[in-house]
């Protein structure tokens, strides 16, 4: 009986089958999978009406016939808040397929230990719109994540978003037409390298937010990425923190500590190449007593910056600060720091102790400014000497 059953499922997943049967057969296979199974999904364009889910399994591979060859489309989704949902699993590989147009997130994985996304395209096909779902690839509360050679398009929050997770590598990925191309949030030990983030509102973000289970992120390295032309108008639905990211942002570090940014090309951003800011800049009251709103121990070095002269786009809250407080005119600095210090980490000179400093050095076309946001931007300083330093780099992480 078992062989007949397997055979039937094999036939069942061929594209000659009706869409509804295909969906049911695939979901059934995901439910019945036993540890070690490889679930092959045929080439074809399949309309899926509800979330596909994998729960409580070990060592499962879900494999399509290739990006753009096996396409799961959720345009007419009726149930479930995401396209594919993987929860409480270990050793999962998702590879070689395209997922499109889910109502919520495209692929969400939660509480998974050892997860690989490889050659997955996750996209909203109707262009950047606030009606698109939040995240294309969305591992949260996971450990040991590899996202390799994936493409994320059109997310109304972040294309590739890793939240409240540990041990992360994101490489060789492409993200465009998202609000944020790639975002690391409240996560520790992340290595983000050799990716291409372009045409988003913001290229790569590293955020720590309050009121979450995993409190503190950090130990993040962002290097050898091409981050360019992220000047898309912000289309995030209001209420989301990413909605505050100004268009024309290459990278933004919000309240995260121990972050190194090096050997990247950060090109053609109309507002900022690399912004380093505390949570106070989000102008949201902090009620989480354990939360640390200050970015500290950050190095920005050996990157290449390019920017044509010109004023920042007048859109959103940050743009107002730029226009009316910072008054950089057309010569906008590539790297800005809000300058709000945590006094408990300062020495007698009022500056950060060596292990907490923000250091900027050896960048090509480097230009830096301290916004002095702490004193209502009264003493905005270009190329401030306290940021001209070298400190110990973030130690290589688990990968």
């Amino acid at each position: 009986m078992k062989y007949i059953f397997v055979l039937l499922l094999f036939i069942g997943l061929s594209p000659v089958m009706g869409q509804a049967q295909f969906e049911k057969a695939l979901q059934t296979q995901l439910i019945l999978a036993t540890d070690g199974d490889v679930i092959e999904v045929e080439a074809g364009n399949f309309q899926i009406s509800g979330s596909l889910s994998l729960e409580g399994k070990k060592k499962i591979t879900i494999r399509g016939k290739g990006m753009d060859k096996t396409v799961l489309n959720f345009k007419n989704q009726k149930t479930g808040a995401e396209g594919i949902k993987i929860t409480n699993c270990e050793n999962i590989i998702l590879e070689d397929l395209t997922v499109q147009d889910s109502k919520g997130d495209l692929i969400k994985t939660m509480h998974v230990k050892d997860i690989i996304f490889r050659r997955i395209k996750a996209e909203w096909t109707g262009g950047p719109k606030p009606q698109n779902g939040s995240y294309a690839l969305y591992p949260v509360l996971c450990t040991n994540i590899l996202i390799d050679s994936c493409i994320a398009i059109g997310a109304s929050d972040a294309g590739i978003y890793v939240g409240q997770s540990k041990n992360i590598e994101i490489k060789n990925c492409t993200a465009y037409q998202n609000v944020a191309g790639i975002e690391i949030e409240n996560s520790i030990y992340a290595d983000v390298h050799h990716n291409h983030a372009y045409g988003n509102t913001g290229g790569i973000l590293v955020f720590d937010l309050p009121d979450l289970i995993q409190k503190k992120g950090g130990f993040v390295k962002v290097h050898d990425n091409l981050i360019e032309d992220n000047n898309l108008s912000n289309f995030a639905p209001k209420g989301n923190i990413v909605g505050k990211v100004p268009r024309g942002t290459g990278m933004l570090i919000l309240a995260t500590s121990n972050v190194d940014i090096f050997d990247n090309k950060i090109l053609n951003h109309r507002t900022v190449g690399v912004g380093i800011i505390s949570y106070f800049m989000a102008e949201i009251a902090i009620k989480d007593k354990e939360y640390d709103p200050y970015p500290t121990a950050i190095s920005v070095y050996k990157n290449t910056f390019e920017r044509r002269l010109g004023r920042v786009p007048l859109e959103g809250r940050f743009a107002q600060i730029y226009r009316f407080k910072l008054r950089f005119g057309r010569n906008v600095p590539q790297i800005v720091y809000d300058g709000i210090l945590d006094s408990t980490r300062c020495g007698s000179d009022g500056q950060y102790l060596p292990q907490h400093r923000i250091c900027v050095h050896q960048n090509l076309n480097q230009s830096v400014a301290n916004m002095d946001a702490e004193h209502d931007f009264k003493n905005v300083r270009r190329n401030p000497k306290e940021l001209d330093c070298v400190q110990e780099y973030v130690k290589s992480n688990q990968f």
């Binding site: 009986m1 049911k24 439910i31 409480n88 409240q164 209420g239």
Partner: protein, 336 residues
Amino acid sequence: MRYLGFILLLGLFSYQPGPKFPSKLSEYGLFEGELKNQLPHSGVTPYELISPLFSDYAHKLRFVQLPSGKSVAYNPDSVFQFPVGTRIAKTFYYPMDERKPNGSRRLMETRILSHEPTGWVALPYIWNEEQTEAYLEVAGGTSLVEFKNQQGKKQQVNYVVPNVNQCKGCHERDGKMTPIGPSARQMNASMQFAHGNENQLDYWSRTNQMRDVATSRPQFVSYIDESASLNERVKAYLDINCAHCHNPKGPAKSSGLFLDYRYYGTTAYGMMKSPVAAGRGSGGLQYDIVAGKPAESILHYRMNSHDPGVMMPELGRSIVHQEGVALIREWIKSLN
């Protein structure tokens, strides 16, 4: 093609998740007489919750079968820890006319929660058109049902039976499957048994099915009880409808929004709390709950939606619970 689907279904019925589970509901022997009458066998106890989960206006019949000679310990705080071997059955149905609850009805599904040595297992059984039997369907299913509502208006529901993974989407705590409803606070009320009306906990105690039952016991109000205080109704409503996911150990813990009644009034309960990963679920609003302003509160917005990418809860309903939304609206308005 037609046969393929049929054969595939046969394949499904042969599915055995771990230990052997019956492919037909009747095989459990939970009921006597005609299956559709849902009359519990001796040793099977019906139970009711004071404030039940909203499931597209479906009505529910609930039963527990403890393993013979076993009992469950009372506790005042959380869902009872039923012993291994316990089975819980929940049948979802629609009266053809809501104004005649004892008239004809359409049984949709019966969910069996079975406490195996390896943990709880959830299994959906879908009723056939003839209403003679319900069959195990691990992949769930959908069917259109039509009934007359309280106002006598025709209402259509595209009723969705969750697949076994989706069952766990709600019935999860710390990664493990668990029942949601049966707690002291939800069962501390009188219900009609075959022998007459009796407080459920008293009955369970008297019949030696529950031990150590306290005399002073917590009690939820019924959220439909308009004589109860608004705050208490909301606590009960959000607890049963949301807190199974929105608690520090549940599937929605990543949101930091905890709607367990114990968090009432805190930031974690949504008071002026910014969303984390709500995306378009925020509806362009800044906070989960803004005192006095339901139209600016994400909680109200998401409860009032039936868009799968926006609505909360995200499973188990396809239409808006108008009375629930009205309750939350009234409550938020009352806050200052």
